[in-house]
Symmetry: D2
Subunit: 251 residues, 4 copies
């Protein structure tokens, strides 16, 4: 049983709205469903309905979506969960990320590789780097993330099990990233435009990569009325195109 | 560096075809690209191109998609990677699965929860149970999967961090599964038809569950020609609807 | 050459906004692009750029989307253009419509069947009937629409070339509509929910219909920047499911 | 009532298969449902079930999809019905088409503009031109199509109400097509790749066009079992991107 603790995190759901809060004894949440006194729930198990509020233990998704401060467009769960899988990050992996952004994927990778693994992530823009560091420090658990406010070009400690690139011109750092990857390892990339797919394919097909894949994932939510099963009226039509490849060498 | 070993697994890619093989010294693979003598590659690093064959170290996806013997419709990576994420399975989690099928999701869950975690999975049909057991035994790593050829009804060792149901009438075992879940934990379900969504919603809304979500994930692959960026001609239009909910109790 | 006339219709586009106006000599339009004096454009050809305003001759789409007053959810062009085609309405056809709604499909059918054809449309709710009548009277051209504020049950003048039903429970009037259709004619229906598809299929399969089809059409718009080709961020995820069938009898 | 005539067209549906035949007294159709003697049905109304065969009067869709001989990739109904609508072709319109292909869209345009309208269509490749002419001659009704086995460059009889371009490099003939269009008229284009969208946008934005739109239409079919409402397993993922624009001039 997970118990709600003073200074712990909670997810509050009120109708369609979600709030992620770090709670303090004596304080309270004020929303459209009235006041929620944190003292009333501290010491109780997560997963409780109190008035019109539902209180859950935050999942990785909840933290990334509702707690992380965003300075950049984040990679959405529909994409990031697939990316983690496709680059084959797993318990104990050492993963390279170029373009930390707000740290959403970084955080998910950190969860996946766990305490025995490591995520090394590069972010050139100081503002984004600082924001991502705050997000990771606030919500990360295992100290397995190394954030670097520098160019990956100056880094030489290779042998990564997997890599991901999320920068405007990923083709520029392809060769460098490749040199830091283990043989046979997978690299993933996300780009918003078809023009970038084209550039990326040229770079990847230039040499040293095989098993190239390009795809997009569409996520369509449905209403939850048993008598009226149907998709919601609107959806996110596009986040980015995903590109994957594997490192290969001639025998 | 991962080295190709005698009795190890390799993924062979020849044009658009993929083969997953356990290799033995002295034997060879015969495909449209000619013969591949395993003795030529044993002892080499993975990630090598030899003739028209590309040889990679198999990823979790490769194993599930190209090695697993399928007795049932498997849950595809586009869905399973999202499911693992949505039910918040992570390093160390104890996860309940009802409906092992061919064991594809089981295997992915096992990889996610790692050596400190556990997957307990139920399959009523003996034929499927035996097939799944073979798949898991052949490719699983950590002995963290407990396959049970029995009804979940007779199981009482609760406290699961997460649950997933993949049976024809998931609403029948909802209450039982709920009783085995930790407070605040997430349960996922997959159903192929809209009629089943309707039944499931009735069951979930009957009590004890909150934060109900219904969705579908569409996966669209693109061709990989830089000068002609475009989706492939055909795609998988439907695998199943995903349903998620969380355990909740009145305060 | 089509010339802009006093009391004629114009479509004004200013950036992403569109306005459909009936113009009067001496009056003007006031938008974010400043004032547009109608006197400056009357007598000119359509298709002119004046300041930041683009002035076009309205198409059928423009009229339905930007001029029609909506009292109900209208059938969108992506669906209505396909419906008109699937029920095989053409120049000279006599078409039955049950559920006029705001008259959007009615108007498109009227355009398709032309002066030699006829659309007979039924709307029970007086408020919707009056609104649709206003829309059709204002923008229709050929007096080929017969709007009836009554139940189709009381109508007996059969022999329709095609039929369309857009009411909440289309299965209720299926038999009646069938009796009004020519042999071999097509009927189309639109329903927002999967539960309704199920009911409709039962009705259609009950007898007298063949070649049953169910489908949905998704329409995804792209941004129009040559260097950044990509879909727009959001899209309409669902309007309705389309169902089609043809009248058949045993020999 | 439409009666099946000697030398007339019929659509035969047997389970999921469709056959479009011109029938002759005394002959018969031999399929998996056995023999169908045309003499048994000549003189009967369309829309009859005889054994396991359903016999319908062919619609425009049936003719284009099941009767037309294809030498090229045809434009599918989901796209062509929308194109006809977007370029505002209607009863009486004069429409320009560049790139006849197999004549599928040509035929649909001819049906839309009717006996008072006209479709002028250009096809450079003699083989395609001949095939399209055969298709149109066999199934067209009103002699309202002018097929030209020549370049549109040498044509000067302008004033078209609408235009459509379906060639590999549509941007090359944009200016010529524009010169043949009426003021304010719409032009549509279809291109399979995103790279072509990019080129087209550059051409269109170069001048003389406004209200530029880029989109794609996805068509997803469902199974027709009332108790198991769900999409079919596979779908066509891509046919082409649709681009539309309108002719505009400075005042």
């Amino acid at each position: 049983m997970s118990v709600i603790q003073d200074n712990g995190l909670i997810l509050i759901i009120f109708k369609d709205r979600k709030y992620l809060k770090r709670i303090t004894e004596g304080q309270s949440f004020h929303g459209k469903g009235g006041a929620l006194n944190y003292s009333d729930i501290i010491g109780k198990a997560y997963g409780i309905r109190i008035g019109e509020y539902d209180i859950y233990e935050p999942t990785t998704e909840d933290i990334v979506m509702y707690a992380f401060k965003r300075e950049t467009q984040i990679i959405f769960p529909k994409d990031s969960s697939f990316i983690v899988f496709k680059i084959n990050a797993k318990s104990g992996s050492r993963v390279l990320e170029v373009g930390t952004g707000s740290g959403a994927l970084t955080y998910m990778l950190a969860h996946t590789v766990g305490p025995q693994g490591k995520v090394v992530t590069f972010e050139l823009e100081e503002r984004h780097y600082k924001n991502a560091r705050k997000n990771i420090e606030k919500y990360g658990e295992w100290g397995n993330v190394e954030l670097r406010n520098e160019d990956v070009t100056d880094y030489f400690d290779g042998g990564f099990d997997a890599a991901f690139i999320d920068v405007r011109e990923p083709w520029i750092c392809l060769e460098k990233v490749r040199s830091l990857m283990k043989e046979s390892a997978s690299v993933g990339m996300i780009v918003p435009t078809a023009n970038q797919i084209s550039e990326l394919l040229k770079g990847l097909q230039g040499g040293g990569f095989g098993h190239i894949e390009v795809m997009e994932i569409m996520h369509r939510k449905y209403k939850t009325v048993a008598e009226r099963v149907r998709p919601q009226d609107r959806m996110i039509a596009h986040t980015g195109y995903l590109v994957f490849a594997r490192k290969i060498d001639p025998l």
